[in-house]
């Protein structure tokens, strides 16, 4: 019973976190085209900005990409929650010394959720790709990896490591 309560709390927090991250690439510096370089504390280029620069996106295209990513973050909220849950289950199973079969089942669940997540990323990339001009499209294939990393960054709330630092500073 207690475990169920905790799991529910985890899922609620995860989904809330995912929704929060969906507002344009996640984090206050997750979007593109604003605030970059405006603060000495926020000078590192985000993956989304890297993606935009790699493809030399125009301002409008950057906005479209932001929107596409935000929509994908919303669409993937449940999948990301599933991935987070599978991570907890996996670590718990190893600590508890569960059988190889049980661990494999969790691993299979993770694999399937990760594939669903990649499918959403690929769909998002297709949308962005379709909005590119021919000269931008020629090297676009290589940019998918950066977009996938941008998803990871956004899913982590725009800076997982930043949160870690903040947490430790408290």
């Amino acid at each position: 019973m207690f475990e169920k309560l905790l799991l529910m709390a985890l899922l609620a927090a995860t989904i809330a976190s995912a929704q929060r991250g969906g507002g344009g690439g996640g984090g206050r510096n997750g979007g593109m085209g604003e605030g970059m370089g405006s603060s000495m504390m926020e000078r590192r280029q985000s993956k989304l900005e890297l993606f935009a620069d790699k493809l030399k996106l125009s301002r409008e295209q950057r906005e479209e990409t932001n929107s596409a990513l935000a929509a994908a973050m919303e669409e993937s909220a449940q999948t990301r929650a599933d991935l987070d849950r599978a991570r907890v289950d996996y670590a718990s199973a190893l600590i508890d010394g569960k059988s190889a079969d049980e661990v494999k089942k969790i691993s299979d669940d993770y694999t399937s959720a990760a594939a669903r997540m990649t499918a959403i990323e690929a769909k998002t990339f297709s949308k962005v790709y379709a909005s590119l001009k021919p000269n931008q499209q020629s090297k676009a294939g290589q940019a998918f990896e950066v977009l996938a990393e941008a998803f990871e960054q956004a899913a982590a709330g725009g800076g997982r490591e930043g949160r870690e630092r903040g947490r430790q500073g408290r």
Binding site: G27, A140, E152, A156
Partner: protein
């Protein structure tokens, strides 16, 4: 069972914390090099120097000398194991990008997407196995402070050096 409760709890509280203080700064710090980190020449003077991952793990878990050695060894080994997976994942993502560029349909993309999912799962396995090894090396008090480390494990080996954020 108890461990599962504990892990679930730490992850939930971690997310709750992220809600409050999160938003993050998009990883907005300087690169950290080596175990001691650096506040390099390219870092503005107003920016506080940022401890390396290893330093943060050591601080959070209050590791003693032997544990530090063990943790470093565990993470170094995991990095080695992750290297071929990371390379395959990069190739896998390139293949997906190329397939989209070539105008391939969903059915053509499906095996590529599934292959990427399997590689990500493999990477997660490496991350979590390393976490569990660290966890088991800790005493009870330290185990209660593993929340941040559990979260740090996600994507830890995506780069060439786990101790350097990319």
């Amino acid at each position: 069972m108890l461990c599962r409760l504990f892990l679930t709890g730490i992850l939930a509280s971690g997310f709750a914390f992220a809600q409050r203080g999160g938003g993050g700064d998009m990883g907005g710090g300087g690169d950290m090099g080596g175990m001691g980190g650096r506040s390099g020449m390219d870092t503005p003077s107003v920016m506080p120097s940022r401890p390396s991952r290893f330093d943060r793990i050591s601080q959070v878990l209050k590791l003693n000398k032997d544990q530090k050695k063990d943790v470093k060894s565990i993470l170094d080994q995991a990095q080695k194991a992750a290297t071929p997976v990371r390379d395959q994942l990069a190739k896998s993502r390139l293949a997906i990008g190329d397939a989209v560029q070539a105008g391939k349909g969903e059915s053509d993309l499906k095996p590529l997407v599934e292959s990427a999912g399997a590689l990500e799962s493999q990477m997660a396995g490496i991350e979590l196995n390393a976490f569990v090894k660290i966890y088991k090396d800790l005493d009870k008090d330290q185990q209660g402070n593993t929340r941040a480390v559990f979260q740090m494990m996600k994507g830890m080996f995506n780069g060439k050096n786990w101790n350097v954020e990319e």
